[in-house]
């Protein structure tokens, strides 16, 4: 049969034709270009416009950046080197980097201390941010605030150690009594911590114990630059998180008094701009402390920014609490858990997980808002640029280099945090999609 047909027909192809390459405009980069850039007249016009925009931006900035001078003592000298050509005077950065990062009063031989504290910040945050790391690292996270305080402000190591011991004692007492009653354990814990802290009264100012581990003290008005932004950001976010949780729970409370106190507080703080709260910190908050206590500006600012971000975090967490199905609350009740247990074991872990993106947004916003302290004449990064550096005779008129540097630093930090948040969201997504 096959023989006859093979003979009957003059030519029969026995193997299939090899697949030919697709037409040039249906595959590869050409297709990609056609689909993504030149898909129709309107899109082609947009593409051309976009190219023109990119070209204009790059042609105006690239010579300026690439032709930059990195080594000159003053702006005048830098302009002389440039000799009329376009170019940036990045020399201001190489000359004043220390002021931009640490402020102009922090003793330069002590820069290693905040730098070390900054490096340790990453180690301290790592176990909080990445769950796969060994949990033992959390011990370091707990110790970090005390180490950082000691490194940045200096003074005897005794103070942070006493504070730490007080906290540990309080915590141990709390854990011991927690079985009986949450509220009582909390109260007794706080009291016992306070007792330990009050021991410092019995140490004389010339006691030998104060000379152990003594670092040269740096008053907080000498802090400045990007370090100040980082410190305010990290401290205020960390402090406002527990406060925000408490406010959110208070706002959900069935007790009208507690609920309305929380509502009024949150709505008040959210209704006024941060700058007015900073005014409060700089000129008004002092009146609320006992006469003669002289709380320094840094602490007053930390208090106000913490209250500010706590109100916003509370709203985000309230969103998380509201998003939990009612069944979760009922299930906790039916298991016989009391309010503290149900909140800690069932409600908050889920609500916080839902709120993470919002909390990170608030944290990024807060970090950006720390630049506002320059308005109340604290010398943070922006304050340094506007004040000491631009006002100096050497560098009067160097705007773009300084602001680009500040913008770059903030961009790196904020973009990094938001990328982390997106990663975490994907990581925590336990629902199947």
């Amino acid at each position: 049969m096959s023989d006859t047909s093979a003979n009957a027909v003059a030519f029969v192809r026995t193997e299939s034709v090899p697949a030919s390459a697709p037409p040039v405009n249906a595959a590869g980069p050409v297709k990609w270009l056609k689909d993504n850039l030149f898909d129709g007249v309107g899109n082609s016009i947009l593409t051309v416009l976009a190219f023109v925009a990119i070209f204009m931006i790059l042609s105006n900035t690239m010579p300026w950046v690439l032709n930059g001078i990195w080594d000159a003592p003053t702006l005048a000298a830098c302009r002389e080197i440039l000799d009329g050509t376009t170019g940036a005077c990045f020399a201001v950065l190489s000359e004043r980097w220390n002021q931009l990062l640490f402020g102009f009063k922090y003793p330069s031989e002590l820069y290693w201390r905040p730098a070390l504290a900054f490096a340790m910040l990453f180690v301290a945050f790592a176990p909080v941010l990445f769950f796969d790391l060994p949990r033992k690292l959390l011990i370091f996270t707990g110790l970090y605030p005390f180490i950082a305080f000691w490194l940045i402000w200096g003074g005897p190591i005794f103070n942070p150690i006493l504070a730490l011991v007080g906290l540990i004692v309080g915590y141990v007492v709390f854990v011991r009594l927690e079985k009986t009653s949450f509220a009582m354990a909390m109260g007794v814990g706080i009291v016992s911590a306070a007792v330990v802290w009050s021991l410092s009264k019995f140490i004389g100012s010339d006691s030998a114990i104060l000379s152990i581990g003594y670092l040269e003290t740096v008053p907080s008005r000498d802090l400045g630059g990007f370090m100040l932004n980082m410190m305010l950001g990290v401290t205020c976010v960390s402090l406002s998180l527990p406060l925000g949780i408490a406010l959110a729970l208070g706002r959900q409370s069935s007790m009208p008094l507690i609920k309305y106190v929380c509502v009024i507080f949150i709505e008040f703080i959210r209704g006024v701009p941060l700058i007015t709260l900073l005014f409060v910190a700089s000129v008004m908050l002092g009146y609320f402390f006992p006469p003669g206590s002289g709380v320094d500006l840094f602490i007053r600012v930390v208090i106000m920014i913490t209250l500010f971000s706590a109100a916003y975090i509370a709203e985000v967490i309230r969103g998380g609490l509201a998003a939990l199905p009612k069944g979760q609350y009922e299930a906790a009740d039916s298991l016989g858990l009391d309010y503290a247990q149900a909140t800690r074991l069932i409600i908050l872990p889920q609500a916080l997980k839902i709120s993470i993106p919002g909390i990170v947004n608030i944290a990024v916003g807060l970090f950006k808002d720390t630049t506002l302290v320059s308005v109340i004449s604290m010398f943070d990064m922006v304050g340094m640029i506007r004040g000491p550096i631009l006002a100096s005779t050497d560098w009067n008129g160097v705007y773009w280099e300084l602001f680009s540097f500040a913008a770059l630093l903030f961009f790196v930090v904020c973009y990094g945090i938001s990328q982390y948040s997106q990663w975490l969201e994907r990581r925590l997504a336990t629902d199947h999609r």
């Binding site: 007790m255 209704g271 007015t276 000129v283 402390f289 990024v364 506002l372 320059s374 308005v375």
Partner: protein
């Protein structure tokens, strides 16, 4: 049979205050009330003691005293002899002005960038994501300073416009961009309101706005009538020409009757005269707030459009609706429900962030009441309390609008 017993009566023990759920919340609230009262008393006591020690008191009479400083950018009559209260009022109007302008511009930027970010065009959508990321992640304070720097350092001084071969030229011959601000042609009504002095332009514009509002209602009536006829007969009468006439004819007639002319700014002496001057600080704060908040609005717009499920578009297509009608009848109404609430909260942010104007010397309420008045009179507590009250009022009004909108547009289910 089960017997429902009453809870035991009369045997009230002190421990029931904490352990009995009937009394516990009352106990806790009583404790909270006592603590709160103690805290308030403690703080108030500190304030009173501190004020006494410094020989200060709380007194609002400084509001009636002459302010003693000048304000460049003002919408109402003000001299340095006016009262502090009036200075605060000038500041309030300036805050509202810059907030209003920035809200409009931020919406334009945001919608533009948000829609383009969803474009099929790879390059354009990438460019827009770069815009959003750059502007969202850098403090608005730095943007304000950068744009203020552009306005004051890069722009030519007024004297650059002088002479035959001037270094700078006026834009289209009618506007001048100088380092002191932008001068644009100012509209003037040469007839009718001409003799009424300083307020004439103001009244003219109020009438013009009234006419525009009237046109809006007129046009709405026409559209509604067209819809009614369409629902009754199935044929929609043409409304385009009528609507255009209602929108533009009265306004044009008004302008012709009152003799609208434009005064073009001219270089006289060391500065430009005539026309409207928009100061560099106003432009800096306006533009910076718009472009910064625009990046946030762009994200809201993108999220809103993406929130409308594709099935909606496809279903509308299956019904035979044309693509642009699908956008306006199906996608947009649903997307707006998602977009508007965060948009309103962005407007609130703009209003609050406008307080940063103090940084570039724009005389908003924070700069007048919370800045110069506070420093000159030393009335810190009074000034800050008033300032907070103002912002709080604005916030509550905006929140009320947002709540009203949410309630009127939320999905009516069951």
């Amino acid at each position: 049979m089960t017997i429902i017993t009453d809870p035991p009566k009369g045997s009230f023990r002190l421990s029931m205050l904490l352990n009995d759920s009937r009394y516990r919340s009352l106990t806790l609230q009583a404790i909270a009330a006592i603590l709160l009262a103690l805290a308030i008393f403690y703080l108030a006591n500190n304030v009173v003691t501190n004020l006494q020690r410094l020989g200060l008191n709380i007194d609002f009479s400084f509001l009636g005293a002459p302010a003693g400083y000048d304000i460049n950018q003002r919408l109402i009559e003000y001299t340095s002899q006016s009262t502090n209260l009036k200075a605060a009022f000038v500041g309030i109007l300036n805050t509202l002005l810059v907030a209003f302008l920035a809200c409009i511009m931020a919406t334009i930027f945001g919608v533009f960038a948000g829609v383009l970010r969803l474009s099929n065009n790879w390059l354009v959508s990438k460019l827009m994501s770069i815009y959003v990321e750059i502007f969202r992640n850098i403090p608005v304070l730095i943007w304000i300073l950068i744009i203020y720097g552009i306005m004051t350092v890069v722009m030519p001084a007024p004297r650059a416009f002088r002479g035959e071969d001037a270094e700078a030229a006026m834009f289209l011959g009618i506007s001048a961009f100088t380092n002191r601000g932008v001068y644009i042609p100012g509209p003037e009504f040469s007839r009718i309101f001409g003799e009424m002095g300083i307020l004439s332009a103001g009244i003219g514009w109020l009438v013009a706005i009234a006419i525009i509002i009237g046109s809006f209602f007129g046009a709405r009536t026409v559209t509604r009538r067209a819809t009614r006829i369409q629902e009754a007969t199935g044929v929609r009468p043409a409304t385009l020409v009528t609507n255009l006439a209602i929108w533009f004819l009265p306004l044009i007639a008004f302008f012709i009757i009152t003799g609208l002319t434009f005064e073009i700014p001219e270089l006289k002496g060391f500065n430009f005269k005539g026309g409207i001057k928009i100061g560099a600080p106003l432009i800096a704060i306006w533009f910076a707030l718009s472009i910064y908040t625009g990046a946030f609005i762009a994200e809201n717009v993108r999220a809103g459009i993406q929130a409308v499920s594709k099935g909606q578009t496809e279903a509308a297509g299956a019904l035979g609706i044309r693509p642009n009608r699908i956008m306006s009848l199906v996608v947009l109404p649903q997307a707006l429900r998602v977009i508007i609430p965060p948009l309103i909260s962005q407007y609130l942010n703009i209003t609050k962030n406008s307080s940063l104007a103090i940084l570039v010397g724009y005389a908003d309420v924070t700069a007048t009441l919370g800045g110069i008045t506070l420093n000159q009179t030393g009335r810190a507590i009074e000034c800050i309390v008033l300032l907070m009250l103002f912002y709080l009022t604005i916030s509550l009004i905006i929140s009320a609008v947002a709540n009203f909108y949410n309630n009127s547009t939320k999905l009516k289910e069951r």
